[in-house]
């Protein structure tokens, strides 16, 4: 079907937005107008103004600064956890798809079991137990996000494995490992890319949900999620404290999903 101009524009905008966010987050220490933990007790809860584009929070800290530094944490959690999920998921999916029935069954039942356990409650309990640092949090979010990727990869591997070129490679004497690495994995990459992009959004949403219950990233470290958690109590009088971080989460996840969709439909 012919691609119209409109349908290519949206994902490009999304991609552009994501790049902007990443660059902004990376350069936060230089871009931020104020110091990260610069309290200004005399100037608390100021509405957005020329000095403070996003206003200030309960302790007089500049919200734009915190949003920029929060981006580092939230994006890092989203991206790295997605990579962790991708690695685990691709491995599980590839093995399941190309190994024998028994191994496939076992792996798929494990996947089903992990999908069955309620994700957010499980993470909440784990976070309450471990009271994790940011790196541990990344690992935990990654550990509950691989199942979707595994399923997708397995399906791709199965369909690829049935194809002629794989049979041909086998006929030529290639070992199963070589078949996987040289022939199947490259074919699986697009599907993995899609699943991973979507996992970024999911990871960011999970982190913000955890922080909403106070078991995610702990203050004073800023993350978009825990800024929302802190803004909860002041939503009616200082809505900007909740609107800006929430909007950032929304936009980032939206962009990830849009890009993921675009890759997905580009395949077909």
């Amino acid at each position: 079907m012919p691609r119209t101009v409109a349908s290519t524009r949206a994902p490009l905008v999304a991609l552009g937005l994501l790049t902007l966010l990443l660059v902004g987050a990376a350069l936060a220490p230089w871009l931020a107008p104020y110091a990260m933990d610069g309290l200004d007790l005399a100037n608390r809860r100021a509405a957005p103004s020329v000095e403070h584009w996003f206003g200030t929070d309960e302790l007089g800290r500049d919200l734009l600064t915190r949003v920029l530094f929060g981006a580092r944490v939230s994006l890092a959690i989203g991206l790295i956890s997605a990579l962790v999920s991708a690695a685990i998921g691709a491995a599980v999916g590839a093995i399941a798809g190309s190994a024998g029935r028994l191994v496939d069954d076992l792996l798929m039942r494990i996947t089903d079991a992990m999908l069955a356990v309620p994700r957010l409650p499980l993470l909440m309990i784990t976070a309450a137990v471990l009271q994790p640092s940011v790196p541990t949090l990344v690992l935990l979010v990654g550990l509950v996000g691989w199942m979707e990727t595994a399923r997708v990869v397995r399906a791709e591997v199965l369909s690829l494995a049935a194809r002629d070129f794989v049979a041909a490679a086998r006929a030529m004497g290639a070992t199963p490992t070589r078949v996987i690495l040289r022939h199947i994995l490259p074919g699986v990459l697009p599907a993995t890319a899609v699943a991973t992009t979507l996992a970024v959004g999911r990871g960011i949403l999970l982190e913000s949900a955890l922080s909403f219950f106070g078991v995610g990233v702990q203050p004073p470290t800023a993350s978009w999620g825990n800024m929302l958690y802190q803004a909860q109590s002041t939503m009616s009088s200082e809505p900007w404290l909740a609107i800006f971080p929430g909007a950032m989460i929304f936009l980032t996840v939206l962009a990830c999903n849009a890009v993921g969709d675009a890759i997905g439909s580009a395949q077909s």
């Binding site: 409109a6 069954d105 079991a113 999908l115 069955a116 356990v117 949900a209």
Partner: protein
């Protein structure tokens, strides 16, 4: 068929055991535990704490605690809540209706939106372009942000709807119950309807692209007829399983929504129990949630297996 079912059940049981073991270890590794509230009280002496520890069985080795818990659990004895001493089964059961009401309403709302939108999006490209943006937005919204915003606007600023709870105390007529239901159900339905409309649209389009459709097209059938009379019925069975699965996961995942809207269901029971380290309730919650999803997954797989012979070859 029977063999398939038996095999799947046989595989599922040990996995549930593994899940239960991990969850048990996790919860008991938590610093604090149900005795922590006593520590805050300056009047409770160390002998008292020891006595309570023994009474609660918390001094036995962990493995023993797990096994005794497990044996009781499978026989239907889910223990007593540390918070108020009542049977866990009772505490869970009395909250289930509220969650069911919420999830069912959200499901109905979502379907009423997703079905027409999904189908129309598959049929009409113009419609699709508009709604696809909304749908992507729908699945990207942080649940609690939406909840707080709706609460702020509709309950706070406009005052049209109650901000939380399930019903007014002495009221409870249908209009009041509906009014309390609107906001939390909308929050849940937003993400669901977005996801489902996208799924339906994609499923229908995918089906249309399949080889067997080419034959139908070659016979001269219009795109719309193909979609509505062939792709839709084809996509519906798996759509139903997707809906079922999402709903079963939503029940325990509605933790956030129930918290914001003070909805007295099992989600808010979970948050309260977590705050109090009420082990027995937390264990039961996770186990019940997992079993429910695994059962529904099995049902869905059986349905697909039975309905679609081709999947049997791949299995």
């Amino acid at each position: 068929m029977i063999r398939f079912v038996v095999r799947r059940i046989a595989q599922g049981v040990p996995l549930l055991l593994v899940i239960s073991l991990l969850v048990f270890a996790l919860i008991h590794a938590a610093p604090g535990g149900p005795l922590s509230t006593y520590l805050e009280n300056p009047n409770v002496r160390p002998e008292d704490i020891e006595r309570l520890r023994r009474a609660m069985g918390l001094d036995r080795p962990l493995g023993l605690q797990y096994l005794s818990w497990l044996w009781a659990f499978v026989r239907g004895d889910w223990g007593f809540s540390y918070a108020d001493g009542r049977p866990v089964l009772d505490r869970l059961a009395e909250r289930v209706p509220a969650t069911l009401e919420l999830v069912a309403s959200a499901c109905v709302m979502a379907l009423m939106a997703a079905l027409p939108v999904g189908i129309l999006a598959a049929v009409s490209r113009r419609f699709d372009r508009v709604t696809s943006v909304l749908a992507v937005a729908g699945i990207s919204l942080p649940v609690f942000w939406l909840g707080l915003l709706l609460q702020l606007v509709f309950a706070g600023a406009l005052g049209w709807l109650p901000s939380s709870g399930r019903a007014a105390f002495d009221g409870g007529d249908l209009a009041d119950r509906l009014a309390h239901l609107v906001l939390p159900a909308t929050v849940l339905a937003a993400a669901l309807s977005a996801a489902w409309s996208r799924y339906l649209r994609r499923a229908m389009r995918d089906t249309v692209a399949r080889p067997f459709m080419r034959a139908a097209r070659a016979r001269g059938l219009r795109e719309r007829t193909l979609l509505l009379h062939h792709a839709l019925p084809n996509a519906l069975p798996t759509f139903v399983t997707v809906v079922l699965l999402d709903v079963s996961m939503m029940a325990s995942g509605a933790v956030v929504t129930e918290s914001i809207f003070a909805w007295p269901g099992i989600g808010s029971l979970f948050t309260e129990s977590l705050a109090r380290r009420d082990y027995t309730v937390l264990m039961a919650f996770l186990m019940v949630g997992s079993v429910a999803v695994m059962t529904l997954t099995l049902v869905a797989d059986i349905a697909v297996y039975a309905l679609d012979p081709r999947t049997r070859d791949a299995a």
